[in-house]
């Protein structure tokens, strides 16, 4: 997926696996305030954060989710390119 090379820019990964819902979502939404297309935020979550997707969509953010073999999920978010 060459259009997804922005995923490699996301460092460090914020580990949110030890938080109860909806704390991971709160952290992510706070971190996303003011994200641009050049700045990528990445977090590890205990599972795919389905309830978060409509919030990201409503904020006009671009995101990707990767499911890991241990059941956790990696989430990358950036602002949409104008």
């Amino acid at each position: 997926m060459p259009e997804d090379d922005w995923l490699a820019r996301a460092l460090p990964v914020e580990d949110l696996t030890g938080l109860e819902p909806p704390e991971p979502m709160l952290r992510i939404l706070l971190a996303c305030a003011g994200l641009t297309a050049e700045v990528v935020y990445c977090a590890r979550l205990p599972h795919a954060p389905r309830p978060l997707y409509p919030q990201l969509e409503a904020r006009g953010l671009e995101w990707r989710v990767g499911l890991c073999p241990d059941g956790t999920a990696l989430l990358w978010i950036r602002g949409r390119a104008r």
């Binding site: 938080l19 909806p22 979502m25 939404l29 389905r50 309830p51 997707y53 409509p54 990201l56 499911l67």
Partner: protein, 431 residues
């Protein structure tokens, strides 16, 4: 690592008004059951088949559990099953029809006019068809393959079966002619026992176990169940569902029905609590959480349900079925549903109302929407009322029954306070 990004879409759950309408009905059912018992005293409570006992049991099974579980299904299907329920706005029609049907059923069962059963059959049948049809479509369309989705499927089939049996009972009580197999001396009792166990195990047990495989790891950061356990549990529930449903059509002794219920009972009241208590003991984050107390209560009561059910089948005592029904409806499922509401309602209100504003202005946390104190009060009142119920059955005095009525009404009031507080605080924060 598997990338799911290509299929990632905003999975829209129902509007918040849909689950909330169902969740808000539950406290009123508890209050109604409490008022009914407090007014009647010991009248109609000498056995499980007494008027007051039947009406109170259905206020619990339908008014409390059915409404909350249907609200939960509307909420869970899009998020867990990845399949939106078509025509979700019809859910408000389902709510209205079920409310009318449940009210007519309670009027009929508590000694009101026989014609109430006809209205109950019509409204409940219409409401459940309006619920089961789109839900069935969503479950059939769902491409999710985990045990939770299969558990939801089994539970919905269980609901269909228990409704079928229940409507037959209500139809006969409305004065309609008794069909063939039910005309036998034991047919009526067989139908009643099969109806109760389809409800306890296939519908309530099927849904509560399936939901807990999802919410226990998610909300309490506990380990997921071992791979085989959900399938073994599901197998037990499904075996009882098939057996009990078949018993509705053939002339079998009531004792046979008890054996048909055994696989589901072992799965739901023994295997499931064993895993849940182990998982909760291993939870990653150990902070004070009053919602956990409901889980401990329900999981502690579950094996007692099995014992009480076995005792009811083995000994001819009118009190044992009352103990059994109380433990199942109020001590096990009722406690679990009460505890889940104190966790799920704040989460949904935060998700729908607060999350859109995060980052732009301060929003309350879920613990600020519903602090620990009201939950602890709710648990104390719920657990005390369970003890009062068992005492009332043992003593069988009018005063003890009236005390139980006050306890049930108080539990309903506290539950209303809990969910009402969340909605009021959520509204205030986003105004």
């Amino acid at each position: 690592m598997t990338f799911s990004m290509a299929s990632v879409r905003p999975e829209q759950g129902p509007p918040l008004s849909v689950p909330l309408a169902f969740f808000f009905t539950a406290p009123f059912a508890l209050i109604a059951a409490g008022v009914l018992i407090a007014v009647r005293g010991s009248e109609g409570l000498a056995s499980m088949w007494g008027n007051t006992a039947l009406a109170a049991a259905h206020l619990g099974a339908v008014g409390l559990l059915l409404f909350v579980m249907i609200g939960a299904l509307y909420q869970m299907l899009p998020t867990v099953g990845g399949a939106a329920v078509p025509g979700i706005r019809l859910a408000h029609g389902v709510h209205a029809l079920l409310l009318a049907g449940a009210a007519a059923l309670i009027v009929g069962q508590s000694g009101g006019p026989v014609g109430a059963f006809t209205w109950a059959v019509a409204a409940l049948l219409a409401g459940l068809l309006l619920f089961l049809t789109p839900t069935g479509v969503a479950l059939a369309r769902s491409r999710a393959e985990g045990p939770t989705v299969w558990g939801l499927r089994v539970a919905v089939l269980g609901l269909t079966a228990v409704v079928f049996a229940g409507l037959r009972l209500a139809w006969i009580r409305s004065g309609a002619p008794t069909p063939g197999v039910l005309a036998s001396p034991t047919g009526w009792l067989t139908l009643r026992i099969a109806h109760a166990h389809l409800g306890f195990l296939a519908w309530i047990g099927g849904l509560l176990t399936a939901v807990s495989w999802q919410v226990v790891p998610m909300f309490f950061l506990a380990p997921a169940p071992p791979r085989a356990l959900p399938w073994v549990t599901l197998g037990g529930v499904a075996a009882s569902l098939v057996g009990l449903f078949t018993a509705l059509f053939v002339d079998v002794e009531p004792s046979t029905v008890v054996w048909l219920a055994l696989p589901g009972a072992l799965a739901v009241w023994l295997a499931h609590p064993a895993w849940t208590l182990t998982a909760l003991r291993k939870r990653a984050r150990r902070r004070k959480d009053a919602t956990l107390w409901f889980w401990w209560l329900a999981m502690g009561v579950a094996p007692l349900c099995l014992a009480a059910g076995a005792a009811s089948a083995a000994f001819d005592s009118p009190k044992l079925p009352l103990v059994y029904g109380t433990l199942v409806l109020f001590g096990w499922a009722g406690a679990l549903v009460h505890g889940m509401l104190t966790r799920v309602v704040p989460f949904l209100v935060w998700l729908h109302w607060c999350a859109p504003h995060v980052g732009s202005r301060p929003m309350p946390s879920v613990r600020e929407l519903l602090p620990q104190r009201p939950i602890a009060v709710g648990f104390t009142v719920h657990a005390s009322t369970l003890v009062a119920a068992l005492a009332a059955i043992a003593l069988d005095s009018s005063l003890a029954w009236r005390g139980l009525g006050v306890g049930l009404a108080a539990t309903g009031c506290v539950l209303l306070w809990e969910v009402g507080t969340v909605v009021a605080r959520g509204r205030a924060a986003t105004r």
